[in-house]
Symmetry: C5
Subunit: 99 residues, 5 copies
């Protein structure tokens, strides 16, 4: 899984019917720094559109999964989903010097 | 899922029979900027050829999925498809300062 | 799917028996430019070894898929295949200014 | 699989119920150098949040897997897991000049 | 599939039981150059730990697969394996000017 921040949403009227009913949120991928800080990723891959399985809101730090884990978790059967928000981060503690 | 723009199409007469009947579109990956702007990705990975599940046209901003989500959504059984357009973006709102 | 050019082949006498009978081709990933031009990718990820499902030859521009789509398309059951050539490109038209 | 070091943990009270009971650890991806040395990855992709299947602790060097391998290993049925720690490294020996 | 060179091995006494009996080798990803030459990848992603399905030895040039192809090939049922060596390269011929 990866960490990210919810930075927006997308509206798509014409879409695969299996996406109907799913909230589509734009996530900016974050990388953890020491302690409780994050740096926003700046690369192209720094953004993902994910369905929301946990009721995340704009600005929240979230945990999301990708690939078949997102597909299988978000819906039964074939679904055109490859990213899903699966947790809202309350706290993180990172110690890059840990040995 | 990722955001992209339809920038072209490919013609392949000789192809796996399971691709017959699928429109193959070239997508340039986009990264969202603040508000409703996008920047075109400039990397090699900035282009994908996807099948079209929603009737997308040249120049439209689309949502596409990758991997097994695309494979399972585009066809039943084994299919040689790893990217599929699954939505046409009407609107996007991104606030990179959201907390 | 991605676009690539067949630039070579590999010979492996000792290999998983589920690869026997598959032609293994080296593909250089291409990124489309405006019109019908391509630029060869220069990164490490710019090369893939793929099985050939469509009879591709050296120097041809091809469409290939990756991951479980390649695995499922190339063989029934478990196969150690994660990339497969699934089309030979006759024509491509890209307009990066399309809106 | 990849090598990494456990550098922290995340707390998520609101999460997909299929994550309940799993310890969520932050892993910094490592790349091996000659002998028994490692360099910490510095890229955005240098961090992953993984569930722990082997009782890993802060500072330990671990082996983790990604994608459907992590999903299928960590739980039966659909699970929103795409990374899992599956080994604790006792020793590594790398010889970059090996021919 | 990708090309790589076996540059080492890892020892993990504590590991998921489904890894027991598998040899874990460190692979440095290679990119082919013209003719029969290779360049070692220098990126973080330039190293993978793979199980060995073909009896590869230190210094050998190998073919490896990733993701569900490796998982399904290496073992029946759920296995925490996302990379597997599936061939030993005897010869490679690359012509980057092929058209």
């Amino acid at each position: 899984m990866k960490l990210g921040r919810v930075v927006g949403n997308v509206v798509a009227t014409r879409k695969d019917e299996r996406l109907v009913g799913h909230k589509l949120l734009v996530i900016q991928v974050l990388r953890p720094e020491a302690g409780r800080q994050f740096t926003a990723a700046d690369e192209k891959d720094g953004f993902v559109v994910a369905v929301d399985l946990v009721g995340a809101g704009l600005g929240e730090t979230v945990l999301f999964c990708s690939g078949s884990s997102a597909r299988a978790s978000a819906a039964e059967g074939a679904s055109p989903i490859d990213a899903a928000i699966v947790g809202i981060i309350d706290d993180i503690d990172v110690n890059l010097e840990a040995r």
